[in-house]
């Protein structure tokens, strides 16, 4: 059971860490995205952020609807 406690505590730490590195910190662009026909338009969060950089680049160019808020 001891190992399990260590695992869980690691899980909590990793989730907290991911929450920070993916949702906080200095932002270069907004990141709320809705995808239409496999084209991501407005980003919403973690999972998307992980594959989103190319789209973020496009977002920066202002072609898509973005909603940004710190």
């Amino acid at each position: 059971m001891h190992d399990n406690i260590i695992d869980r505590s690691k899980d909590v730490t990793i989730l907290e860490l991911l929450d920070r590195v993916l949702n906080k910190g200095v932002i270069l662009t907004g990141d709320i995205v809705i995808s239409v026909a496999d084209v991501d338009l407005i980003y919403l969060g973690v999972k998307l952020m992980l594959s989103s950089v190319e789209t973020m680049e496009k977002l920066k160019s202002g072609r898509y609807i973005t909603s940004e808020k710190a």
Partner: protein, 251 residues
């Protein structure tokens, strides 16, 4: 080729030491880390190919780990994972345009770390307690005069009203917990942010920005909260780089 940005680092106290720390450090995809200097700050970057980042969760964790290593030695502003810029020139332009904001933020987080406190409760139990307390005082709408027939609607309103009052009570309770915790933490000179999550169990999500050496004190304080609020559960994590205290969106 593009640049993945990790952090904006203050180097005013020790110019030069950043580069020696970065020597040999590898970033996302194993690319070497280096810095782009600009006046009193340096931006830590690594190269990525122009396709952009095909990143996994492991990359994000590694990225955060590097920021943390840097945060041990320097005051910095962590970037959100996936921050990419086109060239060192673009970075210099960005820094030039936002320098005031950057310096203001760096000053705020200097020699401080972030801690996270999540507070959980069994909201059913707390609701039940509040309900019992309020039952005496809460008076619902009386049955209508006999000429109004559809009292099913009135029952509906009364039901909603009950839920509404309970919700208000719960929010007032959460507010009182927040006020209490805020007051206690003021002793530690912390900057804090509280969020009422509105979730079933995780009722409060808080972050504190504290002097680096106050970790032990903070733990003691939170242990005290548990004694004061046995019905609540607390999770305290940290120290983290000051992710939640950056109020800057770089254009």
């Amino acid at each position: 080729m593009k640049l993945l940005i990790y952090a904006i680092v203050s180097v005013k106290d020790a110019p030069g030491t950043l580069n020696s720390l970065l020597t040999g450090m590898k970033g996302t995809s194993g690319m070497p880390l280096y810095s782009v200097p600009f006046n009193e700050v340096s931006v830590v970057v690594s190269n990525i190919n122009s396709e952009g980042l095909n990143a996994s969760q492991t990359d994000a964790i590694g990225y955060a780990g590097l920021i943390e290593t840097l945060a041990q030695k320097f005051t910095l502003l962590p970037m959100r994972f996936g921050s990419v810029m086109g060239s060192t020139q673009e970075i210099a332009d960005m820094l030039g345009k936002n320098m005031n904001e950057i310096l203001r933020n760096l000053e705020k987080v200097e020699d401080k770390f972030e801690f996270g406190l999540k507070i959980f409760c069994d909201s059913e139990k707390v609701r039940a307690g509040l309900k019992a307390k309020s039952a005496a005082s809460a008076k619902l709408i009386d049955k209508p005069a006999p000429e109004i027939k559809h009292s099913v609607y009135l029952d509906y309103v009364n039901q909603k009203l009950k839920e509404h009052r309970l919700e208000e009570l719960l929010m007032a309770y959460v507010d009182s917990v927040i006020a209490e915790i805020k007051g206690t933490l003021a002793r530690l000179n912390s900057i804090d942010k509280f969020r009422k999550t509105g979730a079933e169990k995780n009722i409060i999500d808080a972050v504190f920005l504290l002097d680096k050496n106050k970790k032990a004190e903070l733990i003691k304080v939170v242990e005290g909260f548990k004694k004061q609020y046995p019905e609540l559960d607390f999770i305290l994590t940290g120290p983290w780089p000051p992710y939640s205290f950056i109020d800057i969106t770089i254009k």
